[in-house]
């Protein structure tokens, strides 16, 4: 399974994503510079965290116009797996691949912590190795993770099972309905504020992120096997 990690000016979790995939799955990963349009050779794309273009204007707003995003949009439309983590989530939202928008955290401060979450939907390609309603711990590190969508959209998300993760305990940013991660309607694009790539081995304080990557690999292997 070939992974692409697009790199924008200001991405800073790109290497962490690569390390996670190599460590957990041992599958090949390429960094793809933001000026490259073509992502056809990849099976999955991980849009990494960081501060693309300094998060100026709005987080993700400037990166979403990079040429590489054309490849990301195409991959998403072809049903390939696209995972946006933190700033990657924000970029996918700005690009219209995921619903809602981010506001600054309700306490106005950047917040870094290890956060309890619950897996609301474990039937996605990204979450099938988790149990339904499983309590997990993932690191968070963001200043603009306060997810917003209007009432109508929220209903749709609930009905379609697009709410994938919720914060448990105290909500670290004020997001609507404690939402921590959402998918697109088709389920092949996932965005989440927490960082699964920062929780893959014991010394990191949690290993709960590893299953997201194993889920993705299993999905792909089954798909290839079926084909």
């Amino acid at each position: 399974m070939r992974f692409a990690v697009p790199v924008f000016p200001g991405s800073n979790c790109d290497i962490d994503c690569e390390k996670a995939i190599t460590t957990v799955l041992g599958e090949p990963v390429d960094f793809v510079w933001h000026t490259q349009r073509d992502l056809d050779q990849y099976d999955a794309i991980i849009v990494p965290g960081g501060f693309s273009y300094g998060d100026y204007l709005r987080a993700g707003a400037l990166a979403r116009f990079s040429p590489v995003m054309e490849g990301v949009v195409k991959a998403a439309s072809e049903g390939k797996l696209v995972l946006g983590i933190c700033n990657g989530f924000q970029i996918l939202q700005e690009a219209g691949l995921l619903p809602g928008a981010m506001r600054v955290n309700d306490h106005l401060k950047f917040r870094c912590d290890i956060q309890p979450l619950t897996v609301v939907n474990n039937s996605l390609a990204f979450t099938q190795d988790y149990r339904r309603d499983e309590g997990i711990q993932l690191p968070i590190a963001h200043g603009e993770g306060n997810f917003y969508c209007d009432e109508v959209t929220l209903k749709e998300l609930e009905q379609n099972g697009q709410i994938v993760f919720r914060y448990v305990g105290s909500n670290p940013n004020g997001s609507v309905e404690d939402i921590a991660g959402v998918s697109n309607r088709e389920g092949n694009v996932l965005g989440l504020m927490p960082h699964p790539e920062r929780a893959i081995v014991e010394w990191m304080g949690s290993q709960d992120g590893a299953k997201m990557f194993t889920s993705m690999l299993r999905y792909w292997e089954e798909k290839i096997g079926a084909a």
């Binding site: 204007l57 709005r58 928008a101 506001r103 600054v104 106005l108 004020g174």
Partner: protein, 82 residues
Amino acid sequence: MYKATITVRLKTSVLDPQGSAVKGSLHSLGFAAVTDVRIGKTMEVWISAPGSTEAGEKVEEMCQKLLANPVIETYDYELEGA
């Protein structure tokens, strides 16, 4: 040369965390008479265009494409010769 002053605001239906926090701070500084605060962005864009119609069109387009996020924001602008 024209100067567009663009104001981008959160939609009124969207809770404004910054506005609420600033309101709270103003209250604790003794400005009890403040009933609401909303915070938005001001963008000054200098643009060369043959006329104000063209300049306006350009500004409109850049607001829609980039400067405001229609999911949560609204915008308006004023144009002046500069």
